[in-house]
Structures are given as structure tokens and as C-alpha cells.
Symmetry: C2
């Protein structure tokens, strides 16, 4: 568990894309963010109050979050200075970067000496066990996709929010670095040893109260030639009662791979349901979540209407239309 | 690459099961084994000449292979003594054990000082890349299975042998520790980081001459709730032209998992072919390999005949009948 609330570290970010993890945290967990630290050259923000490390500590911040990618991969000396300042001010550090915080000796030593925690959320925790496939109580919904980056995290978080708004017990379960920083906990399933993918997912979304919903963040796609193994282990470990299919209608080929066309939604639903039945015979896709941000409003609504009719299930865009129809379907599913 | 020939280290092995890796090496690569080192209490052997470390070195051994599981997981002091002796005599060490050779300081230091290599074959090599799914030349056959431990390694090696006997260029590609020690190279795909399963397999069985066959050792099963992610990544990375379905007819539930029944062979063929088409649209299962060792001869032959008829493809036991009918099917496949 990463201690909250957070100070978001934006450094000299020039656009929202370069600090999209910090932006995601501010968007989904505004109450968890006391503010953001921007260098003077920064030309974007996350909409939270700008402040120094010391001000953040005074306002109760427990952890400074590095939610952006360093250019060149290594930590700039100036970033290291700010991190050391934050440690001195009493904050832990959490990072979603590839470079490990403790790979910088000064950071490792200072944290050790002051008793602060360094969270590298891309690193799985030790002690993950092999999956068992054994049925466990609690309800689980997994977001799956025709491709990577098709809105699985966003959809899972939107479902959590809407279920809670309707008085249901629901917990977002994060499987990627941005989701883990938003939730304050989770496991980067793509970073575990291959034999433990389903086991990591079982640990992430453990047995729960019979009426409790876990919203498990999916990863990749069964149709992505690079990452399908991760997606299948996640599917088996999540043991989902229900799934939502996430899709980007403007993409023609799989992310980072021009050789492979995107699968059809019908084919992708069929394969996910077929494979999911191994650990949950009742597993079923009950809705479609589409990123229509690149479409005009009329076009987007026509597409959603067409998909809903073709597949006999609600089709939404979490941003444009909200996920209420998906939650209606979840609650009407009898699970 | 592990330098050959080998000295097989059997320690005080009491039965063939406890030294089955060493036995597998002696069975499949007799020419690569100068002999075996047994302590006086050993009550089994691999059929190669017994000898000391020094004798093995004199006869040209390059590597001592630890192909057995230490009881309790740790290396006994006596084993460490023998390993140090082997390093002194000029041999590298290769191990398929969970405990890392360099976790014993004396072994690490001696190897370093003498310039010997320590091969922990469960550890994947550094620098594995994400899979691309890009089509590559060369022919590949992957052994798949209804379950783990269903004869995939044995079948792959038997196919390599029979193809070579017919004058075809063929290479066994090892994906597990025993296979890697037999081949002298390979990658333990279940030990790589989840994101790199298909990439590791692409590296293991790279582009080759158009007429060359890679026989890729499968792992797990798409129907095993613990390991299916590994199996799917391997299937996509192997890009197999052909597959052979391996099966143990005496098993009722998945290995180590009493909750899940073995899948039907037809269902298992269908799912493997469906998923394999993502990276090789022509992928096809062309035969069945059955471990009939627990059946009487008449029963075994009746079963093989029934399976061949039911599925319209040859069904063999590599030990009882040999794999010639599978190789006939491979060569007749037009791939």
C-alpha cells in the first residue's frame, strides 16, 4: 500500500500526454492529491494547487508520485534533488518509471537512513504463488480488449465509481503502473515471472464478500501477438463473472504491430468467453466500452447504437455517455 | 551455449525419477556424455561409465551437469565439494536446480577466479525483447498438450531424431530445464518476465533456412489454470506451421489441480489451432502423441487406433510405436 495523500511531481512537463499518470490520479482520485510540484518551465498542469515539497508536507502529503517518463530513461540530477528534498520533508516516493528509484545510490541511502519507503510500482511484490484456479467468493468483472490501450483502466475506474454511486461495494484492482498509483496498490501483472501471471491476479483480487464487486483492470488482448500470454493468465486468474469488451474504433492494426489487423469484436468476445470458462463456467461479456474521442458526436452515437444492436448488449463511451448502461447490465445480470 | 561433452552428476540418487534429467541427457545425447559421477551410496545409474571428476576431465568432459533435485532445496556441503573439485579440474557447471549456483559464495568465487562458467538453466538470458509476431522463414513444429507433463519434450526430441534419420535438417528447441541441458542451449520460457514470453520464443527459434524444421518444446496447456499464459505466449512466439497434441490418457484432472478435468482432445486441438492462427494462419495439428506407458500393449494399441480414427490423424506413443507416422504426416503436409 502506498500512503496517501499524494504530491504529484510534474517536473517540466510540456503536455498532458507526458504526465498522463499524474493526470489520471488527479482525475480519478482528486481527494487523494494535495497538490502538484511543477518546475517553472512546465507548460501543463493537472488542475491541483501548485506547491513546493515543504508546503505539501505541511498540508499532510505522505507520498510524492513520479507519474511521468524521464526523457532518456535516466533520472535527471534536478529530479534527484527534488526527490531527496521530498524524503527530507518526510514523504515516501512512488514511481511508475522503468528506472528503479533505488538504482540511484543517493536516493536509496537517504530513504534508508530516514526510514522512508520507495515504491517502484512496476516491480511485483515478492512471494507471489502459482495460481490454483480454485473458485473463490466475491463477484469480479474484468475489462478485456480488442487491443492494448483500448480504455480498460478508464472503464474499470468508471464502473467502480458508478457502482459505488449506486451504493454497491466495489473495488478497482490495478494491474498496470498508472492504475496502481491511482489505487495506491496493485500488481503489475505484465512484470511478474510468466509462471505466476494467474497467481498474481488471484492475489490481487482475492476472495471477498459474496456481494462485493472487484473491477479488475485488464491488460493487452488475446489477439496481441506480443502480450496475449499476459491477457490469458489474467483472464484465468481473475475468474471473472462478467467482462466488458474495450475497443478503439479508429485503430486498424494492433498497437506497435502493423502486421496484425484488429480482431472483430464478435470474435474477440467469443474467445474471451471460451477461455474464461476454464475458471468460471458462467463468465460472460455483458457490454462494450468504446473510445470514441476521435469521432464527431453524431458519428460516435451512431457507432454505439450499431454496436449495441449487433451484439445485443449496451455499448458506451465512458467519457461521452458514461457507463450507467453497463452498470444496469451488471446489476441485471443476476450475478 | 553449454560446452559439451558432459559429466553427469548423480550424487547419491536412489532411483531414476530423482535423476531423470541426467537420465534424459544420457538417453537422448549419449555421445555428449563421457560418464557419470555417483557417490558410493547411489543405487541407480544412467548407463554411462562411472568416473571421478579428474577422470572425466582427462576424457575431455567440458561441463559437469547437475540434473537432479537436491533434497530440501539447498546444496549439501558434499555437493559443493564436488562442484569445487570439478571447477578445479577445468569443468564448467550447468544446473537445472532452483537454487542458483552462484548463491553459494565458494562456488561463485572459485568459478570467477578460474574463469569457469556457471549455467543456471532456469535463468533466462538477459536482453530478451518483446515479441513482434512478424512472420519469419523456416518451418516450425510445436508440441502442445492437454496438460503439463504430457510428453512434449520427449515427443519433440523423438521427432528431431526421426527427421534427421530421414536426412532432414531439424533442431530441437528447448524451453524447460531438462530440455536445455539435453540440447546444450535454450530458454526456460516459464521463467521469463510475462511481457516477454512470445519474444523469448521468437529468439529461441529464430528465422532459419526455408527447409529447416525447428521442433519447439511446448509447455503447459491452454487448459491449465495456472500456466495457460505461458502456453499461449509460446504458441504465438513459436509461429508453428504444425503442432502435435500430447496426451496422457490415464490422467483425469489437470496436474497439481484436482478441480479441473482434463480437456477433450478435440476441444484442445480446436483452441490451439484457433489461437495459433494469429501468428501463422496455416497452423494445424497433424498428429497425437500419447504416453501409454501405464496401459497394457493391447489396450494401448486399441487406444491409438481409436484416436487416429476419431481425429483423422496419426496417433502414436513415441516409446511404444515410435513417431514415424507423425514424420510421414509432417513430410506429407506440404509445409
Amino acid at each position: 500500500m502506498i500512503a496517501k495523500p499524494y504530491l504529484l511531481f510534474l517536473a517540466d512537463a510540456k503536455d498532458r500526454n507526458s504526465c498522463k499518470t499524474a493526470y489520471g490520479i488527479a482525475y480519478w482520485r482528486p481527494a487523494d492529491c494535495v497538490g502538484e510540484l511543477r518546475y517553472p518551465e512546465a507548460t501543463t498542469d493537472c488542475g491541483t494547487p501548485a506547491m513546493t515539497v515543504r508546503e505539501a508536507a505541511q498540508r499532510g502529503a505522505k507520498t510524492m508520485v513520479l507519474g511521468l517518463a524521464p526523457s532518456g530513461g535516466a533520472l535527471a540530477p534536478r529530479w534527484v534533488e527534488t526527490i531527496l528534498e521530498a524524503l527530507d520533508a518526510g514523504l515516501d516516493i512512488a514511481s511508475g518509471m522503468h528506472v528503479r528509484l533505488d538504482s540511484v545510490a543517493a536516493i536509496a541511502e537517504r530513504a534508508q537512513r530516514l526510514g522512508r519507503k520507495l515504491h517502484d510500482v512496476r516491480m511485483p511484490p515478492p512471494g507471489i504463488k502459482v495460481g490454483t484456479g480454485r473458485r473463490r467468493p466475491g463477484k469480479r468483472l474484468l475489462t478485456v480488449g480488442t487491443d492494448c490501450n483500448a480504455g480498460k483502466m478508464f472503464t474499470s475506474l468508471a464502473l467502480e465509481k458508478e457502482l459505488r454511486a449506486r451504493g454497491k461495494a466495489a473495488t478497482f484492482r490495478a494491474t498496470g503502473q498508472t492504475g496502481i498509483l491511482i489505487a495506491g496498490s496493485g500488481i503489475a501483472v505484465d512484470a511478474v515471472i510468466a509462471d505466476f501471471i494467474s497467481g498474481a491476479t488471484e492475489q490481487l483480487a482475492p476472495a471477498n464478500a459474496p456481494e462485493h464487486w472487484d473491477l479488475v483492470e485488464g491488460q493487452g488482448s488475446l489477439f496481441h501477438p506480443s502480450y496475449a500470454g499476459v491477457s490469458l493468465g489474467l483472464l484465468h486468474g481473475a475468474q471473472p463473472d462478467l467482462m466488458v469488451m474495450c475497443h478503439d474504433p479508429t485503430r486498424k492494426t494492433m498497437r506497435g504491430d502493423v502486421d496484425h489487423a484488429l480482431p472483430g469484436i464478435r470474435e474477440c468476445i467469443a474467445l474471451n468467453e471460451h477461455c474464461a470458462k476454464l475458471t468460471n463456467p458462467a463468465a460472460k461479456v455483458i457490454g462494450i466500452s468504446v473510445n470514441t474521442s476521435r469521432l464527431a458526436d453524431g458519428e460516435a452515437k451512431a457507432l454505439l447504437a450499431r454496436l449495441a444492436q449487433e451484439h445485443g448488449m449496451p455499448a458506451v463511451d465512458p467519457v461521452r455517455t458514461g457507463v450507467a448502461p453497463l452498470v444496469d447490465a451488471i446489476l441485471a445480470s443476476g450475478r
